[in-house]
Amino acid sequence: MRLPESQLAVMEAASATDPTSVDSLAEETGLKPETVTRAAFDLRDEGLVSIDETTATSAELTAEGETYLTEGLPEVRLYRAAIEAGAANEPVEMGQLLGTAGLKGSAVNIALSNFARKGYGSIDAGAVSADPDADPDTDSERTALAAIADGESVDDTGLLEQLERRELLERSERTVRSVTLTDDGVTALMEGIEAAETVDRLTPELLTSGEWEDVEFTEYNVEADAPELDGGRKHILRQTADRVKDVLVGMGFKEMEGPHADADFWINDCLFMPQDHPARTHWDRFALDVDPIGSVPEDLAERVEDAHRNGVSEDGDGYHSPWSREFAEAIALRGHTTSLSMRYLSGYAGADIEPPKRYFSVEKVYRNDTLDPTHLLEFFQIEGWVMAEDLSVRDLMGTFEEFYAQFGITDLEFKPHYNPYTEPSFELFGTHPTTGELVEIGNSGMFRAEVLEPLGIEVDVMAWGLALERLLMLMYGFEDIRDVHGTLCDLQLLRETEVLY
């Protein structure tokens, strides 16, 4: 048999007949008591030893007890002084005795109160009489103190309690474990036990050879700090986008994809945005210094122009704004991903558009706005639309309630709003999940006939958009979006931000 060194040592030190305490074993083996204890428990699990547990009361002298042990108990010192002064025969004045005995302060009262109690004599009217038969050398309290100091046990409970009352000793209870070899243990010892080695690392050799069964691993400080580690992780804005995508796919939406740099035709004209709309002027739009778009669908372009100039339907009016094909064909960075919705709804993106359909995208848009803690020049827009027969604004409201509820945003309010491309239109307000504030969370509406008719759509389409960053700030409580998005980002913040799911 092979056993770890510590276990073997315990086996060898233990006896089959007399239980040996852990402390004794520790002393004998030179191991730490906790190591002996752990070894003993392991050996017990192997059936090699048995462990008895008793509750032991131990006593220890207090500082005052130690002093009296060396200098003598105050009442004894008083008695010896009194005998010397002849108080065995006739009373001696107390003040004189105290001086001789070297008693002062609190020791005086201690001496006086214990003198009579212990039969050393009596005190009457300031004079001390000593009992000549008393024997201070056999004072039981002094003897007990000396025994305890020597580590011997004292069995007289009354005496111990008396000393404890005098605050000369302190008693405590602890579990004392004693180890006895079992018959199996004795047999194993007789057959011979080899010591197993102690190792630092578990190696492939130990595992394959089976030696791991006989080795003992050195102990680590398992509470010590480990080095810091930064693993790879997905950007938190991407994580948020993924959640949004999950929710939308779960609600039956398909994802759209398309160009960031696009003709104004797709970005604005199809959306019935008048060409002199403030958002289309140079201070909101990032025009690109490239040639105009190669082509837009000719028949669609004519229908869009006609809608701008004359409106649609018998009673419809157009805008009193200029419209030029040249402006429509100029290339700019898209100000919203509704340009993708237009490409898909027109059929130009190549996807099937037989109703019903649900489509979405979570992609970047570009606005020439002021750059500040809550506004970036480029940000992610969540865009979604539903195309079906007979949709009402109640369907729109129901869809948004479901969507926002997934992010803990409830109690939606619908503020009537205006967009050139939707009617009715709503700004969506929701209750902030933590602050309880009413915050704007999106913009929505039913696409206008002036948008749908030129596209050739004969059913209803409801649509909405919101900034992903807005959702992120609501969910994480960030105050400056630039810490997260862009080259000024703080790696530390990105590394430390809690993962939300």
Partner: protein, 580 residues
């Protein structure tokens, strides 16, 4: 979006709703679509709203909307007008670019301090919105008593003013906020307001000018003369608007007249005499009478209203909602009940019958509608491109890279110069820049043509953070490409950098190998010279014979340029290479 400042007491007074608290007013306004944004230093409510109901750009218009909402007013209201006394003659010399004029005379208006402030605010807000910063329409309001009209003819009563065009160094006049008489040209260079609006007319051959018997008194769209300045003492006003579209200025004028009517003014028509009915005047005619308070009519079917709102209504309820929106409606009950709806002349937002259904919804209260989840079954799914991007991102993260997200816009310096490459060369990443015509700032002048520059800038801005910094990004890169329909070629690019004390070519290539192995893509890495990388430690990434990326140790000059004090190994390749 427009913001209008409204004194709550004035609003209560004009609405006749003395008992309403500020909070109640705010809730009622929210339901109309006007959001309370806060208050001004002088305690006025700042109300923000979308730019459709421009008739609400003053306290008078907001009060009118509330009175309808409360049911205190119903149906269409049209102010009475008196017959014209004034004629606006338009001279053939008028600038071609700004041919149209309109206006009105308003008498007996009670211009209190508040009323005057409100009028000035309305004028400014109309300029900012419908007027397109005065380019499309500009308003001049004058104290009528300070004007001396030209007598029309011996046998006619009435006066005239003349809208014409003059040379920049033509007649002088004293503009508002000035003591000196200036020519129109001098106004544009010397007067603060003139400088601000100079761009509007600087290309014109002749500058717009309005004269009375005493001379030049208005230089639209720039500034009025001081002679006719309106004050709280003014009782009778002459309003003139010039612009590039007759409909637009006529409706701006209507909104002004309705506000002044609410202040007790009497509206008096004016005649507009254009030189003829040709050219820009072919559609509008040679002689007009303004303001034009004619109502418009649109037909809306009952079925459409119910369908759009998703509720059932009786015809009487619909009419009630129309009337509470300031509209009138008549109908004949039948299988297809259709309402003929009369729209007042201050409404500029009604293009299609749907716009009237929106009014019914607002009057009904959209928030009173019960949301319903549409009973429409569709199958959801992700686009193939984003699925590929996500899979590649998962691989990079598994390799220990921190995923980053940077701007697509960048500067020429950051994209090329600081990476030691030149635009339009053959070096990977050096594509022709897609340049932004009017950038927000010099930091964002073009779309990035590759992604590595963004990652080096992140390293540059995070030198105080713990290393190693192994970061990666999958994002858009673009360059000019005339074979594309949009003339811009866009692609997603994968960039990854290892910034650590022992970063080497081998470390970067090991990760690239692992990434490509995930997608079962075989690649070769022939040596190349690339100025961003250390010579002899740079390779092209070649997949199926195509140069799809670059790999190597970043050149010390690039590192020093980015304030980096440790080696950086990097690679970049097109995302679509993984789909090969």
């Amino acid at each position: 979006m427009p913001v209008v400042d409204v004194d709550p007491d004035e609003l209560r007074r004009l609405t006749g709703a003395a008992e309403k608290t500020d909070e109640e007013l705010q809730t009622d306004l929210f339901n109309l679509g006007l959001e309370y944004e806060g208050e001004t230093d002088s305690g006025e409510m700042q109300l923000e709203f979308a730019p459709d109901r421009l008739d609400r750009l003053s306290v008078e218009g907001v009060a009118r909307s509330l009175r309808y909402q409360y049911g205190d007013d119903r149906g269409v209201y049209v102010p009475k007008t008196n017959d014209p006394d004034w004629v606006y003659e338009v001279d053939p010399d008028v600038p071609d670019e700004r041919p149209y004029v309109t206006g009105a005379v308003v008498r007996g208006v009670n211009l209190t301090e508040q009323a005057l402030d409100s009028l000035i605010q309305l004028q400014e807000k109309l300029h900012a919105t419908m007027g397109r910063q005065r380019a499309k329409g500009a308003i001049g309001i004058h104290d009528l008593t300070m004007l001396k009209g030209k007598v029309l003819a011996e046998d006619a009563t009435g006066n005239s003013i003349t809208y014409t065009g003059i040379e920049p160094d033509g007649d002088r006049f004293v503009p508002l906020d000035s003591d000196a008489a200036l020519t129109p040209g001098e106004v544009l260079t010397e007067h603060d307001t003139g400088k601000k609006f100079a761009d509007l007319v600087s290309e014109y051959d002749r500058y717009p000018a309005i004269y009375d018997e005493l001379g030049l008194f208005s230089f639209p769209p720039v500034i009025n003369g001081r002679r006719t300045e309106v004050s709280t003492d003014s009782r009778d006003l002459l309003i003139e608007l010039t612009g590039t579209d007759q409909w637009t200025i006529d409706h701006m004028c209507n909104i002004l007249c309705y506000a002044l009517d609410a202040r007790g003014g009497t509206i008096e028509e004016v005649e507009i005499h254009y030189p003829d009915a040709t050219g820009p005047y072919a559609d509008v005619g040679a002689e007009l009478v303004r303001p034009n308070f004619e109502t418009d009519e649109k037909a809306v079917s009952h079925a459409e209203i119910e369908r759009m709102l998703g509720i059932e209504l009786t015809a009487d309820e619909v009419v009630d909602h129309f009337e509470r929106s300031g509209l009138d409606a008549t109908y004949t009950l039948g299988e297809q009940t259709v309402y003929t709806v009369e729209v007042p002349p201050y409404r500029v937002d009604v293009l299609h019958p749907y716009d009237l259904i929106d009014d019914v919804g607002r009057a009904y209260g959209f928030n009173n509608l019960e949301p319903a989840y549409p009973d429409v079954g569709t199958v959801g799914g992700r686009h193939e491109r984003t699925r590929l991007e996500d899979a590649a991102r998962a691989s990079l993260i598994g390799l220990g890279f921190e995923d980053l997200l940077n701007f697509h816009m960048i500067s020429v310096e950051d994209n090329y110069d600081r990476m030691r490459i030149e635009p339009g060369t053959d070096d990977f990443g050096a594509g022709e820049p897609a340049v932004i015509t009017e950038p927000y700032s010099e930091d964002y002048t073009q779309l990035r043509s590759w992604v590595l520059p963004s990652l080096l800038m992140v390293l540059e801005n995070n030198t105080h953070r713990a290393y190693p910094q192994d970061i990666a990004e999958i994002g858009l890169a673009a360059r000019v490409d005339e074979t594309e329909n949009t003339n811009v070629a866009e692609h997603r690019s994968i960039a990854a950098v290892l910034a650590r004390n022992d970063a080497s070519y081998e470390d970067a290539k090991a990760r690239l190998q692992a990434l490509c192995a995930d997608f079962d893509v075989e690649f070769a890495t022939p040596a190349i010279d690339h100025p961003t990388f250390i010579p002899g430690r740079a390779a092209a990434i070649v997949v199926d014979g195509e140069h799809v990326g670059v790999l190597g140790e970043i050149h010390p000059a690039v590192l020093v340029e980015h304030d980096l004090e440790l080696p950086v190994a990097a690679f970049e390749l097109r995302l679509d290479a993984l789909a090969a």
